[in-house]
Amino acid sequence: MKNFKKLALMGLTAVMSLSLLAACGGGTQGSANTPADNTETTPVESTTPAGNSETPAAGEFTTVEAGKLHMSTNAAFPPYEMTTDDGGFEGIDVEVAQAIADKLGLELVVDDMAFNAALTAVQTGQSDIAMAGITVTDDRLEVMDFSDSYATGVQVVIVKEDSPIQTIDDLANADMIGCQADTTGYIYCSDTPENGGYGADHVTAYDNGALAVMALVNGQVDAVVIDNAPAQEFVAANPGLKILDTEFAVEDYAIGFAKGNTALKDAVNTALGELIADGTVQSIVDKYITAE
């Protein structure tokens, strides 16, 4: 009996200390710093026009670190973001972010992490912006703010060339579908059949898109649902794969901010608007995505 009490006490202490920890996690919003070893300044050459004087006079915004714009991303998503051999980062998102940072007079810092971590990092104030080919959804709008869209994302289905799955409808017969963990593709696919998904039992989430495609090549999954641009790269790199003709979903990519960080959002939107208007964004996209 005495022992039982001891156990109960132990459990209670553990619960309390855990909730205390959680409280700390929630309370430090905005002051947390990203671990230094994840941080890497980008060696991207600036694509902004020289006349850089029109810095937007939007309301005063603050960044996590003065003078720097921290961007959280998942650099395993070519051609939007990927690592270079010398340890830097490149891709559409990285260059667009660089152009925006130049407009705002800030230095861009890229923080590489898992996709789901990139989303939470911006929500908890560890980074200023999240750019990782993020699709705007109603659910995400409840927990974070988004800029105007800067690119259109198309979700496609990759299968083996001789696969029985040849249309989007055939996906319902797939025994196992591979996705990148917690992306919209995963969320759509793992939903219940009544909601247009295929059920979580038929979907495996991988840490990044490359692993999902490897699982497809190895025969661990029958199809991979992923964004079109990286899909093109993966299919080019792995013979025997193809992309189905019809799209799985069409979505808008935008930059994510912490909920309520309106000052920074407005400043970025202004800069983004100018970059779209003068064709900089389009030239960055064209640089990475050559015509099909």
């Binding site: 022992n3 156990l7 132990m10 459990g11 553990a14 619960v15 855990l18 909730s19 959680a22 409280a23 996690g25 929630g26 309370g27 789901n116 989303l119 939470t120 929500q123 659910d139 995400r140 409840e142 927990v143 974070m144 025994d175 196992m176 963990a181 917690d182 995963y186 969320i187 793992s190 979580a200 495996t204 989430a205 991988y206 840490d207 692993l211 490897m214 699982a215 190895n218 025969g219 661990q220 999954v221």
Partner: protein, 243 residues
């Protein structure tokens, strides 16, 4: 500051409701927990069998009399040594990734891959634990058994193993706990255990705190229950001790 904290506390109920009650999500946690516990138990049985075999070979080899070395035992001993060195010398995470993406690259049965990876890993540690236990029983005990006319296996079965078992039980319990928690690594190859389910629910609700804290509590409760059971067993085994 205080009002913020109170607001945070009030929101907490809703966040946990979303993470556990809404859409019957708690069922997913239970399913995941079932997979985690099942994987641990099967992997431990696998690991203990493997570990005992390796330990018996290693002790039998080391306790041979000088000048009477058995050649076959020598070869088996070297194989066992390579096995424990490789498994104990590489990270668990890397081993699981190798099992999932290299060795069983075309298998869809993630549960099986997890069991093999965890069991083989656990076997190496159990082998060292059991070997320590067998070595801890004085050679005089088995010599006495042999001189009373018992065979090697009977001496092991009736004299050495019962004494060794009591010595290794605490470390074996420790190994079970480690193995139980290490099952969370299997989520890297997409096996739907507790951590995987918690992360996916976090991904769907865009709120990772409640599922992670909740799953941590589930792990903790299971470990506390197991530690209690282990304490009862150890006390029961001590009853025959002369003190």
């Amino acid at each position: 500051m205080l009002s913020e904290f109170i607001q945070w506390l009030t929101d907490l109920g809703g966040r946990f409701h979303t993470a556990f009650i809404e859409g019957d999500r708690w069922k997913l946690y239970l399913e995941g927990l079932g997979v985690t516990v099942g994987m641990t138990v099967v992997a431990l049985i696998f690991g203990v069998i493997l570990g005992v075999v390796v330990a018996v070979i290693r002790t039998a080899h080391d306790q041979q009399r000088l000048g009477q070395r058995n050649f076959l035992l020598g070869i088996l001993n070297i194989l066992c040594k390579i096995y424990t060195t490789v498994i104990r010398g590489t990270p668990m995470m890397v081993q699981i990734l190798i099992w999932g993406f290299v060795i069983f690259a075309s298998s869809r049965n993630k549960f099986m891959v997890g069991i093999v990876g965890l069991g083989i890993n656990s076997g190496a540690y159990v082998a060292e634990i059991v070997r320590g236990g067998l070595m801890s029983v004085d050679v005089g005990q088995s010599e006495a058994g042999r001189s009373l006319g018992l065979g090697y296996l009977d001496t092991m079965r009736f004299i050495v193993i019962p004494q060794a078992f009591k010595n290794i039980l605490p470390s074996l319990g420790n190994e079970f706990i480690t193995l139980f928690k290490d099952t969370s690594l299997v989520n890297a190859i997409g096996a739907a255990e507790l951590t995987y389910e918690a992360m996916r629910i976090g991904g769907r609700t865009y709120d990772y705190m409640p599922p992670l804290i909740g799953s941590a509590l589930m792990y903790l409760v299971i470990v506390i229950i197991f530690t209690g059971l282990q304490g009862i067993l150890e006390r029961r085994l001590r009853q025959s001790d002369r003190r």
